[in-house]
């Protein structure tokens, strides 16, 4: 039982790292980016290539996954996404679905369609008994890393100049520009950072979530749920939502494998019925 | 008889009280003006009356019937409609289609999905007649988005007329209309049958005094003064707070 809870938390933490970039692009910049999972997949494949082809250490792969995905995010933001901030939601959907399709096919072409496996370092594999509970070491590692990331994120957004600039840019673009904030740069950095985190999540999740070319499609709905249920005004909202989703999903698959997914989709739809606008409203101002 | 009445109407946006305990009574057939400095909450009041916004407290009575809980489209059916300060039109439709839409909804054929619109001759004829009354007959087949601003403004008002309201709320109808067409607009409005009640928001005081018989002054979301036009015009407090400021 506790093992499942623990696995669920690890899974939820991963989902949070994967989805928190989307919280910002979708929730704050109001851009429907269904391609977010593609950045996560990039991070995963970077890890796979570095480890399996060049034999580099897993620990080196994580920052590399972050930076490659962030760079990719920055490039795409500057060249493509930027043009569509003002476009209709339908256009954003079509554009990002197109991007997903391209990413899926490209991954298939470059890496092949099979599930990718990575060999974790010995100290991270296996289980440890802590107060009688069997805990996967890698799960523990994931939880610790993700918890630090979440706290760091909270600090960045609430305490640093960059955080306040971002919030200003999102609240009112024009006023922010008037205050001398370089809004396009803030947006680009934010987008890149969010993509980087997704890439990191993808790298860490390769072991837990699996990695194949359909990754962006498979997890799209999960990312969306995290954003929808968690709201966008805080870091803790999506964090809690991700943890809950993780536990529910793991427990559901374990105890009631037949109806696990329904529970999650059903809860999401219920949430959307109860608070159709509130979930996305910024800080409940309206 | 009272056509439109509000009792203790209140609307908050967060901590801001935009409409504060407004109890308004508009006589049937009145030419009633609602004036007040910018930010007094005039448009918010109109939004509350027509159902674009929901009040935080208070109620709205239309000819004695409580309409507070009704959605906007049901209120229109009950006989109250409005124009918008900023044109709210259907850019892809022609003026003819726009008015046919409103007339069709008024006549209760809007839900008909088996008959061609073109087979409702009386709807089309009435739309065409209304358009020519507003001087839009020559452009009735053009896309609304391509029309000159003045024409769009006229269509905005014609569209409210098409619903044949018994209570009509005009939110700065003459805003942005060129000087020579302004009187046309006002003439059309004052030519309305005597039993149609008109509530007008306007900044142009000449216009207000030439049109309104009764004036309500709104300041900071609350009613500041109210009475026959001549009385309000001579009210020292009103002059101080409002007229003095703008004149």
């Amino acid at each position: 039982m506790l093992t499942i809870l623990f696995d669920g938390i690890a899974y939820g933490m991963l989902l949070f790292i994967l989805a928190c970039g989307l919280t910002i692009t979708l929730g704050l910049m109001n851009f429907i980016n269904l391609a977010h999972g593609a950045f996560a997949m990039t991070g995963g494949y970077v890890t796979v290539v570095m480890m399996n082809r060049y034999g580099l250490s897993f620990y080196w792969c994580l920052p590399a996954a972050f930076f490659v995905s962030a760079a990719l995010g920055a490039i795409l933001e500057r060249t493509l996404y930027r043009r569509l901030y003002q476009a209709s939601h339908l256009d954003q959907v079509l554009f990002s679905v197109g991007l997903v399709f391209m990413a899926v096919a490209a991954a298939d072409y470059v890496m092949g369609g099979q599930q990718q496996l990575i060999q974790l370092p010995p100290e991270l594999s296996g289980r440890t008994e802590i107060i009688g509970i069997g805990i996967g070491r890698y799960r523990l590692f994931t939880i610790v890393v993700c918890a630090f990331l979440a706290m760091g994120l909270q600090l960045i957004l609430s305490k640093t100049r960059f955080g306040s600039r971002l919030r200003a840019a999102v609240d009112d673009r024009r006023v922010a520009m008037g205050l001398g904030i370089n809004v396009p740069v803030v947006f680009a950095l934010t987008f890149a950072f969010g993509s980087g985190l997704a890439g990191l999540g993808g790298a860490m999740g390769a072991e837990i979530l699996g990695l194949d070319p359909n990754f962006p499609l498979k997890f799209m709905i999960y990312f969306l749920i995290v954003v929808a249920v968690g709201g966008t005004s805080t870091v803790s909202g999506p964090f809690l939502a991700a943890i809950l989703l993780g536990i529910a999903d793991v427990a559901g698959k374990y105890y009631v494998p037949a109806i696990g997914p329904f529970v999650i989709y059903g809860l999401m739809i219920l949430m959307l019925i109860v608070r159709p606008n509130g979930l996305f409203a910024r800080g409940g101002a309206r | 008889m009272i056509a439109l009445e509000t009792q203790g109407l209140k609307r908050r946006f967060g901590a801001f009280v935009v409409t504060n305990d407004v109890s308004l009574r508009v006589e049937r057939g009145a030419r009633h003006a609602l004036i007040g400095p910018n930010g007094a909450g005039k448009t918010t009041l109109i939004n509350l009356l027509t159902g674009v916004l929901k009040p935080s407290a208070g109620c709205i009575l239309l000819e004695g019937e409580d309409i507070t809980a009704l959605p906007a489209h049901r209120r229109v059916k009950k006989g109250i409609t409005r124009t918008f300060q900023i044109n709210q039109l259907f850019g892809e439709y022609t003026p003819l289609e726009t008015l046919a839409l409103a007339i069709g909804e008024r006549d209760g054929i809007g839900g008909n999905l088996v008959r061609d619109l073109g087979s409702f001759d009386d709807v089309v004829d009435e739309a065409a007649e209304l358009l020519s009354r507003f001087g839009l007959g020559s452009v009735m087949g053009q896309r609304t988005a391509t029309l000159a601003y003045g024409k769009q403004r006229l269509l905005e008002i014609a569209l409210a007329f098409a619903s044949k309201p018994r209570v009509l709320l005009l939110d700065e109808p003459a805003a942005g209309v060129p000087e020579d067409e302004r009187h046309e607009v006002l003439k059309i409005v004052s030519d309305l049958p005597g039993d149609v009640t008109v509530l007008l928001i306007e900044h142009d005081m000449d216009l207000v005094f030439s049109f309104a018989t009764c004036i309500t002054v709104l300041v900071a979301g609350a009613i500041f003064a109210e009475g026959p036009a001549t009385e309000v015009a001579n009210d020292a407090r009103v002059k101080a707070v409002y007229l003095g400021e703008s004149a």
């Binding site: 979708l26 | 409005r82 054929i109 809007g110 739309a127």
Partner: protein
């Protein structure tokens, strides 16, 4: 319903011939419509070897026309339209397998089932932003897909449902090996449905739909009951999507959870975007374009055609959908104009 002259009207409106003819011209049959249907029928004789792909096109076209009612007219962005397609497909398959293998009966039942689902779920798309609508529609389709996967005893699970064959259409026309009768059947359903959709589009109801889409606040202020209108059109569209799903099952004698997969919802969006939204024939033209393109791509790059479809989507969006899809409306429009000036 005939509208009796209203005595309370102050001025009896003068008959206005210009206005009447302008309004009537909206629903006039355009030349391009005749050309499309003529070619579709002529294909039966001219392209006997292409019946299977033409059937595929007709089914996809019907699916896209149905989405156009939702997206192009009512302005609802759906990422889960395939829920109705898939449900129709399964209902038709199960009905043929267990009860009665006459296709038209199965078609009607499938349409009814999807319509019911459409009606029930329409309440979920009434409120909220584009994003909530996207997610609810997507969620519903995913749930159904999961259901089809899990209920193996009924649906055959991931392997799909097969092992049934259909009786002759109306007891008269056998499904032949070349797919000729199958194509004619699909074409007939497509034609009927498109004509119904067309009727709706040019009715007062259709007029109010696009008004809701362009300016919901003003639409309310002229008395349009938006919620009721959206419920109705969403249900009608679901019925048509159910039809198209049923056609797929009946012409292939097979259903698998693939009919509920996300890529179908995305594909049909793309189809509609290629052809242009809001005038019904966009779905048909888009289906032709999309199917031919996909077929060609899957010959050139069998495994990776998805890449090029994705690229096409991105280009479409960046260049501007209106500008690219515009040409379709332009050309037939010109033809129609030249025709009317001659007559």
């Amino acid at each position: 319903m005939s509208v009796v002259a209203d005595g309370s009207r102050a001025l009896a409106p003068m008959p206005d011939d210009a206005a009447r003819s302008q309004i009537r011209r909206r629903s006039r049959i355009r030349l391009y419509e005749l050309v499309i249907w003529f070619l579709a029928v002529a294909a039966i004789i001219v392209l006997p070897s292409k019946m299977l792909i033409l059937t595929e096109i007709a089914i996809l076209a019907l699916f896209a026309v149905s989405l156009d009612l939702v997206l192009g007219f009512a302005g609802i962005v759906s990422l889960g339209h395939t829920a109705f397609f898939g449900l129709g497909a399964y209902v038709a398959g199960l009905f043929a397998r267990h009860y009665f293998a006459e296709p038209v009966a199965g078609l009607i039942l499938a349409g009814a089932a999807s319509g019911l689902l459409g009606f029930a779920t329409s309440f979920l798309v009434l409120r909220g932003s584009d994003l909530t609508r996207l997610m609810t529609t997507l969620g519903i389709a995913l749930m159904l897909g999961e259901l089809a996967n899990q209920m193996g005893w009924l649906t055959g699970g991931a392997d799909g449902l097969s092992g049934f064959s259909l009786d002759p259409i109306l007891g008269l026309f056998e499904f032949d090996l070349w797919g000729r009768n199958g194509y004619i059947y699909c074409l007939a359903v497509l034609f009927t449905s498109t004509m119904i959709a067309r009727r709706i589009a040019y009715s007062p109801f259709g007029l109010s739909l696009k008004a809701i889409k362009t300016n919901p606040m003003r639409a309310a202020m002229v008395g349009v009951p938006a919620r009721r209108r959206i419920i109705i059109v969403y249900t009608v569209a679901a019925v048509m999507a159910g039809f198209s799903g049923a056609l797929l099952t009946q012409t292939t004698s097979f259903v698998s959870p693939d009919v509920l997969a996300f890529h179908r919802s995305a594909d049909v969006l793309l189809v509609l975007v290629i052809g242009g939204t809001g005038y019904l024939y966009g779905g048909i033209l888009g289906a032709i374009g999309f199917t031919l393109l996909r077929d060609w791509l899957s010959v050139v790059t069998p495994q990776y055609w998805m890449f090029w479809i994705g690229l096409l989507l991105i280009i479409l969006v960046l260049v501007g959908r209106d500008r690219l899809a515009g040409w379709m409306q332009y050309l037939p429009g010109r033809l129609a104009q030249s025709r009317s000036s001659r007559s």
